[in-house]
């Protein structure tokens, strides 16, 4: 029996070798390449990158947009997940369809739809003007606000669903028990519901942040070339500028950010899990 159980492990080999060769190895080589100039170890590319004010601006903009997107998504997602965990039947179906359908539609279609909405003579401006809120059309496309709204829209399901999953598993008698012991609603939320939902919040935020920090299609459609992000700078270095050294450096920075978010969030989720 032990022999077979060990041999069963070999079944992982085809998939693992595939990912090792066609995913991990290329990423490792990319990272390695960013520390090399003419075959010699060097951090010169990083020094060049970080000493250029324009690049620092792009880095800061990328992080800021990702943080704002995560924050906006969390503000909308948390109450939504609370309601979803309470409802059943028809309303639950409405919420689930609203999550899963946009997730299935894909980012190119959604980013494109937001450009229609934000156009100078677009739906939003026409609505605002006909309601008499503004006189002249507001410039919305090509602004950071538009980017954050569009990005939060695309990544919202990835924030709602982990929080919903945690809240749905929570024993609904816990807040009731707290209430019967005389806990006020605020105390109940702060000391029962919120701590129990934190692992979902951490998972959702980590996922949303790492998607938002590396998004490409949404900013290139909504803000365009004028306000670069790290992803756009990477694509430009490779596809147009043919400056692969710069591209490898920026890719590696993006990779390090993504890996830190993944490791950091799983560490945090473990600690939160252990405390309960």
């Amino acid at each position: 029996m032990t022999g077979r159980a060990e041999r069963i492990g070999l079944l992982a080999l085809p998939g693992l070798s595939f990912l090792a060769i066609i995913y991990a190895l290329p990423l490792f080589m990319l990272l390695l390449k960013s520390f090399q100039i003419d075959g010699q170890f060097s951090v010169a590319e990083y020094v060049t990158f970080f000493s250029d004010e324009y690049n620092l601006n792009v880095l800061w903009r990328t992080l800021r947009v990702a943080l704002l997107t995560t924050g906006l998504a969390l503000i909308i997602a948390y109450p939504t997940a609370i309601i979803m965990a309470r409802v059943k039947g028809f309303w639950l179906s409405v919420f689930l369809v609203a999550m899963v359908l946009p997730m299935s539609v894909g980012v190119v279609v959604k980013a494109f739809a937001w450009t229609i909405l934000f156009r100078t003579r677009g739906v939003l401006n026409d609505t605002l003007m006909s309601l008499g809120i503004t006189e002249a059309p507001i410039r919305m496309l090509f602004t950071e606000t538009a980017l954050v709204i569009g990005a939060a829209n695309v990544f919202l399901p990835f924030m709602v669903l982990p929080i919903y999953a945690v809240l749905r598993q929570m024993d609904s008698r816990l807040p009731e028990a707290a209430a019967s012991l005389g806990a006020t609603p605020v105390f109940r939320f702060m000391n029962v519901t919120l701590p129990l939902s934190l692992p979902g919040v951490v998972a959702g935020s980590a996922f949303t942040f790492s998607l938002a920090v590396s998004m490409y299609v949404i900013p290139s459609l909504i803000v365009g070339e004028r306000q670069q992000t790290l992803s756009m700078l990477t694509a430009r270095s490779f596809l147009y500028l043919r400056n692969e050294a710069l591209g490898a450096t920026i890719s590696s920075i993006l990779l390090v950010i993504a890996i830190s978010v993944v490791l950091g969030s799983s560490w945090l989720a473990n600690r939160l899990g252990a405390r309960q």
Binding site: A5, L11, P26, P79, I82, L101, V105, A113
Partner: protein, 266 residues
């Protein structure tokens, strides 16, 4: 229920309904914009018309892109289902160190920046001398689809009763046949949801594919963004509506066979 309770609850309901509206907005806008008679995006359309759907017929390059995208999505999902099944059995049944690490590693491409994976693959394929765009794209798309398949299969196999496979073997089936005839049908929901999400992720992928295409092999999202730069007429909304229809079909299949709640659990 106290007053604070009721206030918090109604506020949550308002945000939750707003969230549903916000999520559905891009889909509704795209559908509405695709039926316009005008050459620009004005909403509501001055008159309803199918002209942009009719204009799709003449775009030959577009249909090549649709065919390539469908081909890549189907083939990469199939390969991922096979690789994923083997790996998930190993994680669920194997007795060796590092099973957790394998599970995390196989799902990790979901959290990695797609663009970075694309850049890495571009350089790697050049290094090993792989010049064929179709094969590059296919290998890249397996990296995209495999984590979706692994995520659902890992979750479902953890709950699967493997003594059923052992029972089938006692009754004379070989191990591979027992897996095919007992495990696979039992995990049909996981195959369906994992496969459907993998298929859609491959259909939609831009950031990895953009580095692996050549002039002749362009996938649908790449073609769409190219059209958007060259001639941003509402025919793009018509293509998008086709993709929305595809997503609706997938969703209906999924909810009929597996149920919506199980679809998102994976």
């Amino acid at each position: 229920m106290t007053g604070t309770d009721r206030l918090a609850l109604s506020l949550s309901w308002i945000i939750a309904l707003g969230c549903v509206f916000f999520l559905m907005l891009p889909i509704v806008i795209t559908l509405a914009a695709s039926f316009t008679s005008s050459a620009v995006y004005t909403l509501p359309p001055p008159e309803w018309s199918l002209r942009w759907y009719q204009s799709l017929e003449r775009r030959l390059g577009l249909w090549d892109a649709v065919a390539l995208s469908l081909n890549l999505a189907v083939v990469s999902t199939m390969i991922s289902l096979v690789l994923g099944t083997l790996a998930a059995i190993a994680v669920a049944r194997g007795r060796f160190q590092g099973r957790e690490a394998i599970a995390t590693f196989t799902v990790s491409p979901l959290m990695m920046p797609g663009l970075v994976v694309g850049v890495a693959l571009l350089q790697f394929f050049r290094e090993i001398g792989l010049r064929d765009a179709y094969w590059s794209l296919l290998l890249g798309h397996i990296v995209i689809t495999l984590p979706f398949v692994m995520r659902t299969l890992l979750a479902s196999m953890a709950a699967f009763d493997f003594s059923l496979v052992d029972a089938a073997r006692t009754l004379g089936l070989s191990y591979p046949r027992a897996i095919l005839q007992v495990l696979v049908p039992n995990l049909a929901p996981a195959y369906l949801t994992g496969g459907l999400f993998a298929f859609l992720a491959s259909m939609d992928n831009y950031p990895i594919s953009i580095f692996l295409t050549d002039a002749r092999n362009k996938t649908l999202p790449i073609k769409m963004l190219q059209y958007l730069e060259e001639q941003p007429d509402p025919s793009l909304a018509a293509i998008s509506s086709g993709l929305i229809l595809l997503a609706c079909i997938v969703l209906i299949i999924g909810s009929r066979t597996v149920g919506l709640n199980r679809m998102i659990q994976g």
